[in-house]
């Protein structure tokens, strides 16, 4: 039987979930014993942690035999070249954008325009001729969002 998913990923995910379950179980041990009802606050976390661990073990047991037989299939001539690095870069830039707003380094308007311009530039294959369009789009989107949210919905954007 060959798993469609890389069994190494499945094992890693299951180990992660087992560790998470242990953490949940451990912290729920600190909860007080039930006084007025039979179940108490700790029952659900502990029950879920046990079930999750058992299910994760099942996934590990199923994935182990597939480790030897699993074959990574790479299309030699893909129609579209996948760009995982671009996705990671935009994710990191988004984290930076949120961080800049959260820590008050820049306000929403300048941060939004810079952020959208940079990610737009990256997503349009760093073509210089498209940059003015990207910057224009960033300014329009950021300014209009800012005014819609602050003036119409009364939300204080930073």
């Amino acid at each position: 039987m060959q798993s469609q998913v890389n069994p190494k990923f499945e094992i890693a995910m299951s180990v992660g979930l087992i560790l998470f379950s242990i953490l949940v179980f451990y912290f729920s041990l600190e909860l007080p014993e039930p006084e007025y009802e039979p179940l108490g606050s700790a029952a659900l976390p502990q029950g879920l942690a046990v079930i999750m661990s058992l299910l994760s073990f099942v996934v590990i047991l199923r994935a182990i035999p597939c480790l030897k037989t699993y074959d990574v299939k790479v299309d030699p001539n893909p129609e579209v070249i996948p760009r995982p690095l671009l996705s990671i870069a935009i994710f990191i830039l988004t984290l930076i954008f949120i961080g800049v707003l959260d820590f008050g380094i820049l306000g929403f308007l300048p941060a939004g325009i810079i952020y959208l311009s940079v990610i737009g530039y990256l997503m349009t294959n760093r073509e210089m001729k498209r940059l003015p369009w990207v910057i224009g789009f960033s300014i329009i989107l950021t300014v209009s969002s800012f005014y819609i949210f602050t003036k119409l919905f009364y939300i204080d954007l930073p």
Partner: protein, 497 residues
């Protein structure tokens, strides 16, 4: 009937009608773009609905639901790229028809089928909901607990991927809801020393992270994909009486199948379309034509996927149980608007219960109008540059989540769940059970604990109360059935070898 007419009358006022129109139109546009889902649109719109009246908010979301499922057929027919999973079956015959130069005919059939499916399932929704809600009023904590259990198990066992991963996703969703105040006795739990976790994780950041953020970063990986150019006109799009007669039985059968599948908790529009397609094929005199551009295939798939929406709304408004992921988000929307989904909705907030029913009817009519007259233009949306679209969506995710709680903690939570959603999709762990587990977890826990308190810790009511026993039996069967069929399949394979 009076409350229904009252809500219909309300919907015909300018503002609600405009909202419904916007909802349907946006749903069609977003649904037609492969990669962008109805779930994503509804999730992203939720923060904006805080500033609306509850009825208007629900009206807008129902419009998006109807539009999204219907709009997904455009890309499925023209490009063999289903806009949402609901239209996977439409690609089998819609795309070959398009290749044979019959795009307009395929779209006309699909749009009419969506409309008929919607109207028939609306009739079921309007007729069945009030008496079912009355029946559900007699339910106690055991019935509710077993019903939630049934919804989770059915969703886990029937969603894509393995049963084990479906159950894991449901457990994970429930675990994510644990931090904060215990809903039964107010005890603080699992905050790990973080002050921000004391009020628990909110629905919005978890939803937007898991569905929208994860999807965006998945789509960016293939951002260079460009759909092939196609041109369509309007000729041949409208069906005549002869066409309606020819496909009448198929329309009716697929509507009933779609509605029934929709009622079952957790089974989405894609399964409805699949079963309806199989039913149409097996009852056809020319089953060999299916998959080669056969009109009956398009009709079966599109009627059923739209009918499933009406079906799925039945358990939502009568019992507060989601029939699909989108319904789980709609339940979240009701909760956010301080409304209690379930049978009491008909008594405490009839304008909402009947508003949902009416919005679904009018939404279908608007969908038919927009699709028939504007599909030629809507199809052009398929070619909007992805870079601008993605950038705008990321921005709206950040502002939308911040707007809900005026807190950056929620925005960080959204990003974390974006990663969680991405990992889950990579290892083929379904997101549906995760979200429904998250939404239903407090209901399940509260009801179980109330039930146990009432019975002095005894589990006997699970076996003595007929509805609770039935729901429990269905849960057990749903859990064991996939294992049994796997075992039967492997035995058959072993015998063949």
């Amino acid at each position: 009937m009076e409350p229904l007419f009252n809500s219909l009358e309300y919907l015909f006022q300018i503002w609600p009608l405009t909202l419904l129109f916007i909802g349907v139109a946006l749903g069609i546009v977003i649904g037609s773009i492969p990669g962008l889902t109805t779930t994503m649109l509804i999730t992203l719109t939720l923060p904006l609905t805080f500033f609306m009246e509850s009825v208007d908010a629900i009206t807008l979301l129902i419009g998006m639901y109807v539009g999204g499922i219907s709009g997904s057929q455009i890309a499925a027919t023209l490009l063999r790229m289903p806009g949402t999973p609901a239209s996977i079956m439409t690609t089998f015959d819609g795309y070959p028809m398009s290749q044979q130069g019959k795009s307009e005919r395929a779209l006309g059939l699909g749009i009419t089928a969506s409309f008929v499916g919607g109207i028939v399932s609306w009739a079921f929704l309007a007729i069945l909901s009030p008496p079912l809600a009355k029946l559900a009023l007699s339910f106690g904590p055991w019935e509710y607990f077993t019903m939630v259990l049934m919804a989770l198990v059915m969703l886990a066992s029937l969603s894509q991927g393995s049963l084990v991963k479906g159950l894991m996703a449901a457990c994970l969703g429930m675990m994510v809801h644990l931090p904060g105040v215990d809903p039964s006795i107010g005890q603080m739990r699992l905050t790990f020393g973080f002050e921000n976790l004391e009020s628990g994780l909110s629905l919005m950041p978890v939803l937007i992270g898991a569905f929208a953020v994860s999807q965006i970063f998945k789509d960016i990986i293939n951002i260079d994909a460009k759909p092939p150019a196609v041109s369509i006109g309007r000729k041949g799009m409208f069906l005549n009486i002869g066409d309606m007669k020819k496909h009448g039985v198929n329309f009716l059968r697929s509507s009933v199948v779609g509605t029934w599948i929709g009622i079952l908790p957790g089974i989405g529009a894609n399964i409805a379309a699949m079963l309806s397609y199989s039913a149409a094929k097996s009852s056809s005199k020319t089953p060999e034509k299916f998959g080669t551009g056969h009109e009956a295939g398009v009709v079966a798939a599109e009627t059923a996927n739209n009918a499933s929406i009406g079906g799925a709304l039945i358990p939502l408004i009568t019992m507060g149980i989601p029939g699909s992921v989108v319904d789980a988000i709609l339940i979240g929307a009701l909760i956010i608007h301080n409304l209690e989904p379930g049978p009491l909705l008909f008594t405490t907030n009839p304008e909402i219960a009947y508003g949902i029913i009416s919005a679904y009817l009018i939404g279908n009519i608007i969908m038919f109008g927009i699709m028939m007259f504007a599909v030629v233009h809507i199809a052009k949306v398929l070619y909007v540059p992805r870079a601008y679209l993605m950038a705008a969506i990321i921005m709206f995710c950040v502002i939308g989540v911040f707007a809900v709680g005026n807190s950056f903690f929620d925005v960080w939570v959204m990003m974390i769940f974006g990663v969680v959603g991405f990992i889950m999709s990579q290892i083929k762990m379904p997101l549906g059970p995760f979200v429904i587990g998250f939404v239903l977890s407090p209901i399940a826990e509260t009801q179980l604990r109330s039930g146990l308190m009432a019975s002095d810790g005894s589990l006997a009511p699970l076996f003595t109360r007929p509805f609770a026993t039935t729901f429990l039996a269905i849960s057990v069967i749903s859990l064991l059935w996939p294992l049994y069929s796997d075992w039967k399949k492997s035995k058959k394979n072993a015998a063949a070898e």
